[in-house]
Amino acid sequence: MKHSRLLPLLLLALLFTVTSCEKDDPDVNEEELITTLTYTLSPVGGGADVVMTFRDLDGDGGDAPVITGGTLDAGVQYNGAITLLNEAESPAENITEEVEGEDLEHQFFYETSVAGLTVAYADMDADGNPTGLATTVSATTVGSGTLKVTLRHEPNKSGEGVADGNITNAGGETDIEVTFDVNVE
């Protein structure tokens, strides 16, 4: 047989296949994760903050998220602030700054089922459109329901009603969508 020339090549190929039998440990870091959204409502005239949080430390799978709602006082005005963290990293990474840095491409929306609860934007991007990291919140009547906070990436900020907080024409992609139980007393 005249295959002697091929033989070394075949052996070489075999060698390739037997050199390593176990894969190396994979990387377990997830960089882009947002684990925690905190919506802090500070009463304008002073008093204790109302802190609502959505925390899912292990990301998409695994354990279920822990959601804490809040109780507001009727007739009080609050300054609302959103904080985003990746607490899977140590120390926790502040993602709020990432959104601030790309405020033209992001907008928060607030939708509620509680009658008399209003959330107004209190910040602006370079184009004069709201981002929604800072808000003004007030509740007029006693009641309870939900507050849904949505962060859209690349929304159409000039869409009809979008600057007023109406999500209907916003489009874009949802980066965050969390729902809190809210009581107004």
């Binding site: 005249k2 091929l6 296949t17 870091n29 997830e30 925690t36 959204l37 799978g61 980066d175």
Partner: protein
């Protein structure tokens, strides 16, 4: 395919006569109106008469290239050294092109009991820049699973992905086959034929043996001492696509070589009403083929191909969570639709490259016995880019690198008593790694897979009967490493061993010259693939959380096919294939109906599960030749898939469809100025796709779309310039600019399918 024999008679100077006949390679029927020329002096030419005979006289001794052209056949070029009066017996592959099929009644090479169908070189060329899957869709029983037009994978008899083997020049294509949004990384313009083997007869190939096999085959280099080649240019109006393909080849006694390169670019595609923004694509491929005969008995081949593509994904089809998905469903026009055309490809997009190197040596022990050794290596690199924050869109969200090494030894013999034997040993090793650059936990794990296989196939011919029997065993070792989910991720290692057994048997009976009957039955088992076992996480491409099940067992399948092919009076040709496939422990991605709450909102959860299932169907093809000029072809495909354990429909089964093709072929050349237009061919095609009514509403986000009808046409002709043969074509797809959505195109959730497309092409052969 072409063959000829030379018989010398008397030597004369410049008064040599070349006589001969042209017959159909397959049926042996003489071919009338075949145009013959000498390329060196195109004025010297003739045409065959009713008996297929021709005569060219007044030739001087020397080297010539004889051009044969005939309607429906690819033009042939043969090199002749003429020293004396010569008698040629030429054949052309006519009937198989008429039928678009290889298995034709009376075929001498019907060496198998499984049905196969093929697409000719000419058809591939006239498909311009279409991808492999979209071209294959022209065959009955073949569909495509798509995510937009550019990302398409073939579906044969309802099976795809892990269950289908695609052989690129004899080597099983290795990549991320599991993904429904992953196209096969193959340039169809490198192939001279595409063939689909339906049924379980293909046990000599590694990979899953329970589905069909798709063969992508470059032709062997002809013994032609001069440099020859072809240049193809094509244009597409939808997407303003341009493409060029160049092929050069030459045979020398030392070595025969062929090189093939393709460049394609296309921009945003368009529906009848709006642009599909970010659906452009670009591709650059090259293939090199070298063949050498070391002796009368020893032939070697080296093949290298490189495939590189970048594919845009519809921006408005990139959806985050269930809320977004539901909003997208309600829209007539997808989000991010702009009234402006662009060639730009931004995220979301895929960037994929695939390299293949094959070395193959064949050694003939005796003329009817040979040994064959093959080594092949593949590198597949897939990067998928999503819309991400903080400039991370330039960092892939999925980045996989896969190396595959394949070794094979084969023995093939034709023994006495018309017994044929094929046997072989194969070893395949896959090394799959997630590149850590993504910063995202991988959807599928890093793994090694070692696959060792052995097979034995036997055929026996007796009079008009062909018997076939084969068996195959595969041993699969998987070594996978995954990361568990939870607050403290752990690294989990899995080592699996599987044994896959496959067997098939069949019988073919040539009842008469006009009727051919075949039956084939095959049993196969397939081990669960790594993605089915260990997937875990959000699959952005399908807007869902996919979870594997490490406890899955192998699936088993029994498939039977029955085919009846024939013709009546050379007027009516028909092919029919009935198939029934029964699965035990069929592995599928089940929508659990649950949603999982994440900070990005709720996502549907899909889990890999097992059930018992059946798939059965029917492929019918008939052609009626009204006259020399006019013929009508009809193709019908029916398929039904059922989960018999739960008594519900199987998801993602192709809808039934019916195609009618009215063809006009003008065999006689028409003068056009100083030259002649030859082989004028007009085809009018109408394809009707039924609505998929066999579905479960809770398996999918949206019910299947309505039935639709697409009208198309094609006009093609040839013209000979001195040494250059040219072929022109214009085709129009979706002529009526019909709005439609296709069930197996994932983009249907967000957008309409493509509107009108005009394709132009020119092909130079020299």
């Amino acid at each position: 395919m072409l063959s000829f024999s030379l018989t010398g008679i008397i030597a004369q100077d410049c008064n040599i006569t070349v006589k001969g006949t042209v017959t159909d390679e397959v049926t042996g029927v003489p071919l009338e109106v075949v145009n013959l020329y000498l390329e060196e002096s195109p004025d010297v030419g003739t045409m065959t008469d009713e008996s297929g005979a021709f005569e060219i006289s007044g030739l001087c001794p020397g080297h010539y290239h004889l051009v044969l052209s005939h309607i429906g056949c690819e033009t042939q070029l043969i090199h002749l050294t003429i020293e004396e009066d010569t008698q040629l017996e030429l054949t052309m592959d006519h009937s198989s092109h008429v039928l678009d099929n290889v298995v034709v009644v009376g075929s001498s090479d019907a060496a198998s009991t499984t049905q196969s169908q093929s697409i000719s070189n000419l058809k591939i060329l006239e498909s311009g820049s279409e991808n492999l899957s979209n071209i294959l869709e022209g065959l009955s029983g073949v569909n495509t699973l798509k995510n937009g037009n550019g990302i398409a994978k073939p579906v044969v008899h309802g099976l795809y992905g892990n269950r289908i083997t695609i052989l690129n020049n004899g080597i099983a294509q290795s990549g991320q086959q599991w993904g429904n949004d992953h196209s096969p990384e193959i340039d169809p313009l490198v192939a001279n034929s595409l063939k689909v083997i339906k049924g379980v007869g293909s046990l000599e190939y590694p990979g899953s043996n329970l589905g069909s096999v798709i063969l992508v085959e470059p032709k062997k280099i002809g013994k032609e001492p001069h440099l020859h080649g072809r240049v193809n240019y094509f244009f597409e109006s939808n997407g303003w696509g341009n493409g060029v393909n160049v092929q050069l080849q030459q045979y020398t006694p030392a070595i025969a070589w062929k090189i093939n390169g393709t460049l394609k670019k296309s921009g945003d595609r368009k529906t009848p009403d709006y642009y599909l923004n970010n659906t452009g694509s670009q591709e650059g491929n090259i293939a090199l083929q070298l063949e050498k005969s070391f002796s009368e008995k020893w032939f070697s081949e080296l093949y290298f191909s490189s495939f590189n593509t970048e594919l845009g994904v519809l921006r408005g089809g990139h959806i985050s969570n269930l809320t977004d998905l539901e909003l997208a469903f309600e829209r007539d026009v997808p989000y991010f639709t702009e009234d402006k055309f662009s060639y730009a490809i931004d995220a979301p997009k895929q960037r994929v490259s695939h390299q293949l190197l094959k070395l193959n040596s064949k050694y003939f022990i005796k003329p009817d016995q040979h040994l064959q050794f093959t080594f092949a290596g593949q590198v597949n690199n897939r990067k998928e880019f999503d819309i991400r924050r903080s400039g991370r869109s330039e960092i892939p969200a999925l980045s996989l690198l896969q190396f595959t090494y394949f070794l094979e030894g084969k023995y093939q013999a034709e023994l006495s008593n018309d017994i044929g034997i094929r046997t072989g040993l194969q070893f395949n090793m896959i090394d799959n790694t997630n590149n850590p650059e993504t910063g995202i936990l991988p959807l599928i794990p890093d793994y090694f897979a070692y696959e060792s296989g052995a097979y034995l196939l036997m055929t026996k011919k007796k009079n008009d009967w062909l018997f076939e029997l084969g068996g195959r065993y595969d041993n699969i070792l998987q070594n996978a490493v995954t990361v568990s989910s939870g607050a403290n991720p752990e690294i989990l290692r899995y080592n699996n061993i599987y044994h896959n057994f496959s067997a098939s048997t069949g019988i073919r009976y040539q009842a008469s010259e006009n009727l051919d009957i075949a039956y084939n039955i095959g049993y196969a088992s397939r081990n669960p693939a790594v993605n089915e076992l260990y997937s875990g996480g959000l699959h952005q491409g399908v807007s869902g959380i996919e979870e594997g099940d490490p406890d899955l067992s192998a699936e088993y399948s029994l498939k039977t096919t029955f085919s009846l092919n024939g013709k009546i009076k050379e007027k009516l040709f028909f092919e029919s294939l009935f198939y029934y496939q029964r699965f035990s422990d069929y592995i599928f991605l089940n929508p659990t109906g649950e949603t999982r709450l994440t900070i990005r909102g709720a996502f549907p959860v899909f889990q890999y599960e097992q059930t018992d299932a059946t798939i059965f169907g029917l492929d019918l093809m008939g052609r009626y030749q009204f006259s020399e000029v006019v013929g009508l072809k009809m193709i019908y495909s029916f398929i039904k898939g059922k989960d018999i354990e739960n008594d519900i429909a199987l998801i993602n089964m192709p809808a039934n469809n019916l195609t009618a093709e009215l063809g006009f072929a003008f065999p006689k050349p028409i003068p056009a100025g100083k030259r002649k237009l030859e082989n004028i061919n007009i085809e009018i095609t109408d394809k009707y796709v039924f609505r998929q009514n066999n579905f479960e509403i809770d398996q999918d986000f949206l019910p299947p779309p309505a039935a639709y009808n697409l009208l198309g046409m094609k006009l093609a002709a040839d013209m000979q310039f001195k040494n250059i043969r040219t072929h022109y074509f214009i085709s129009i797809e979706n002529m009526l600019n019909t709005r439609y959505r296709e069930y197996l195109n994932r983009q249907r959730y967000y957008a309409d399918d493509l509107g009108i497309n005009i394709r132009l092409g020119v092909n130079f052969r020299f």
